[in-house]
């Protein structure tokens, strides 16, 4: 990977939540990095800690009940050590976030222009009028027709796709270096999904922001990301270039994910061969420490070693890290 320091480096992040029936270990020792200008895909099923990881980066976890440990280095500064005002200066300016639910993530009683402009006013100290002007520019950038009129409208007057465009406009208003997109297309219907992805890709090249793209949709990842990490039960189980992950998945969980994805052109009615496979079993409880491999309970190739010893994440192929005792080691170039 590149020799210069990455834009964001997460080291051994642990995010736990204290609840009445014990500590939930939502993220348990995750490390990864994002280089400037690249798109990192983060994949995994619901509850695997993807969103919590994203929220931890912006420190949107309320503490208590949350508790974060490890390091989140953004351009060399550990975000976990910053004061709340210092963190406020970073949120929305250097790192911004798009959420999964465009229908509920916009404030229903403030105009769209006000909500976009607020970010600019906060971080660049411009006047309200200039902020509205910027809001109009941003709406134009994200492809909303009649932006001069839309800027004075309220979220309920916009469709879901338009609201997500507004969210993107809001996130990009101050030209952030990192955009954290948490399931940005999940709540949208398929044709709108494609438009939003197209828009994000276009903006990535134009604004030059790095993107952390969180999704459970492997198709989205294949289309957008250069590198991918796969998460399971609060842990990173596999990491590699998008090509490596898709063509040569080494972790049994990643293979399971691929198998559970329908492929275009294969009929579901033909018996046998193109049936979708599911991953048997359930995600282990995050309330108690997991001994051994987190995936052991569901893995088709499980052995006693897996149940007793957690596998370390190791380089098993060029640009390809896997946490599995039995992942075949392909020749690794030094």
């Amino acid at each position: 990977m590149s020799s210069s320091a990455p834009l964001l480096e997460v080291q051994n992040l642990q995010t736990h939540f204290g609840t009445v029936d014990g500590v939930v270990r939502a993220v348990e020792g995750v490390s990864f990095h994002i280089n400037a200008g690249e798109t990192l895909g983060v994949v995994g099923e619901s509850g695997c800690g993807k969103s919590v990881t994203a929220m931890s980066i912006l420190r949107l976890i309320s503490t208590p009940p949350g508790k974060m440990a490890g390091k989140i280095l953004f351009k060399g500064t550990n975000l976990l050590e910053l004061s709340e005002p210092e963190m406020q200066a970073i949120r929305g300016k250097d790192i911004s976030m798009i959420f999964q639910e465009p229908m509920t993530s916009l404030n229903p009683v403030l105009t769209v222009g006000r909500q976009i402009g607020e970010t600019v006013m906060l971080h660049e100290g411009v006047s309200a009028r200039d902020a509205e002007q910027r809001a109009v520019e941003m709406l134009t950038l994200v492809g909303i027709p009649a932006p001069g009129r839309r800027v004075r409208e309220y979220p309920h007057q916009l469709s879901g796709g338009m609201r997500q465009r507004v969210m993107i406009a809001m996130a990009l208003a101050c030209s952030p270096q990192l955009l954290v997109a948490d399931e940005p297309t999940t709540a949208l219907d398929v044709t709108i999904q494609a438009q939003i992805l197209e828009l994000m890709r276009d903006l990535e090249t134009r604004v030059g922001a790095a993107i952390m793209l969180i999704t459970h949709d492997l198709g989205v990842v294949a289309e957008m990301a250069q590198r991918v990490i796969v998460m399971y039960a609060g842990r990173k189980v596999e990491e590699g270039t998008a090509e490596e992950i898709f063509l040569n998945p080494l972790h049994p969980y990643t293979r399971g994910l691929m198998g559970s994805m329908p492929k275009l052109g294969s009929s579901l009615h033909e018996t046998g061969r193109s049936k979708l496979t599911e991953i048997q079993g359930q995600v282990p409880s995050l309330r108690k420490p997991i001994i051994g491999c987190a995936f052991a309970g569901r893995c088709p190739n499980v052995t006693d070693v897996c149940r007793q010893m957690a596998p370390a994440i190791e380089l098993k192929a060029p640009n390809h890290l896997v946490a599995c005792h039995y992942a075949p080691r392909v020749a690794v170039a030094a």
């Binding site: 709340e84 406020q88 200066a89 509920t104 916009l106 404030n107 009683v109 607020e118 906060l122 309220y154």
Partner: protein, 313 residues
């Protein structure tokens, strides 16, 4: 919006009609014969009968109601049995103290209750929250006259910070006006504060869990702006609803408060009128209070559109 306002104003007519009917029926429902009271202990039955006839009390209910209503619509609330002055004139004289008390109470209650409720919701589960809730329970359960006498004893008699009772018109200087009304407003406001603070806390707790609050935080908005701009505006509709409903309690409380602090307002007027069975005055005051309540709630309905753009009429 304009059409809605007109429709709502028209809709108040049947409401006011029913109120008027009820107010007029008071004369028949309430015990005690005004003619006998006016005539005095020494009067013969013939005297009482004569007075009754002169007051028109011997004529059928429906005719008297229609006549009364027709005069009321023309702004004539009748003449007081005791002072022989027009009721509308008597009410007008007493309006300023009562409206001053209401205005000051409302301002004081809102400026205390809303920050308290917001703070309690933000710090929910902490001692601050518990303190606010404790105050809310106390505010509800201690009657206004008890609060009034305790305040008067402590801050007027012992500490001598405020006058014990009385009223200074605003035309004699705002200082005296405020200092005379401070204790009454605090006494009258305590239950109102409790009510508003509770509803503010409950609504804010719900709003603060919404996704858009998280969005605001992710944009780098500070805690104060999150609470008082992003969240409070969303909590406004239930809060102003309860302010409108609580206004009825405020009217009732004003009557008691004016007696405790000897404020020459409409409340005192109606208490005196009730003691003397001065029906025209009672009817006039109750009618005016009902009308005020209807108007306040109309304003509340129209305010919804100011705070929530999704509400359109």
């Amino acid at each position: 919006m304009f059409a809605y306002t007109v429709r709502r104003v028209i809709a108040t007519i049947p409401v006011m009609g029913i109120v008027a009917l009820f107010v007029f029926s008071l004369l028949y429902i309430a015990p005690g014969d005004p003619a006998a009271i006016i005539a005095g202990d020494q009067a013969t039955p013939e005297d009482v009968e004569r007075i009754r006839a002169s007051l028109g009390l011997d004529r059928p209910f429906i005719i008297r109601f229609t006549e009364w209503l027709w005069r009321v619509l023309q702004g004539d609330l009748g003449v007081s049995i005791f002072t022989n002055l027009p009721v509308s004139h008597m009410i007008k004289q007493r309006l300023e103290p009562t409206f001053s008390l209401m205005l000051l109470t409302l301002t004081f209650a809102l400026s205390c209750a809303i920050p308290m409720g917001v703070l309690a919701a933000w710090k929910h589960g902490t001692w601050i929250d518990r303190l606010v809730m404790l105050f809310a329970v106390l505010g509800f359960s201690v009657p206004v006259f008890v609060v009034g006498y305790v305040l008067a004893y402590t801050f007027a008699l012992q500490l001598d910070w405020f006058p014990v009772q009385g009223y200074t018109p605003i035309s004699n200087g705002i200082g005296g006006w405020v200092s005379n009304l401070t204790l009454p407003a605090v006494a009258l406001g305590s239950a109102f504060i409790a009510l508003i603070a509770r509803i503010t806390r409950a609504t804010m707790l719900e709003v603060l869990n919404q996704d858009y609050v998280r969005t605001a935080k992710a944009k780098g908005v500070g805690q104060r702006a999150i609470l008082f701009v992003h969240a409070l505006k969303n909590a406004a509709v239930p809060i102003i609803t309860i302010v409108g409903i609580g206004f009825a309690g405020l009217i009732g409380g004003a009557v008691v408060t004016e007696s405790v602090f000897a404020i020459p307002g409409v409340g005192r007027l109606v208490v005196d009128a009730i003691l003397r069975r001065d029906y025209p005055v009672i009817q006039g005051v109750v009618l005016m209070f009902s009308f005020t309540y209807v108007i306040v709630n109309l304003i509340v309905d129209l305010l919804y559109t100011v705070f929530d753009p999704r509400i359109r009429y």
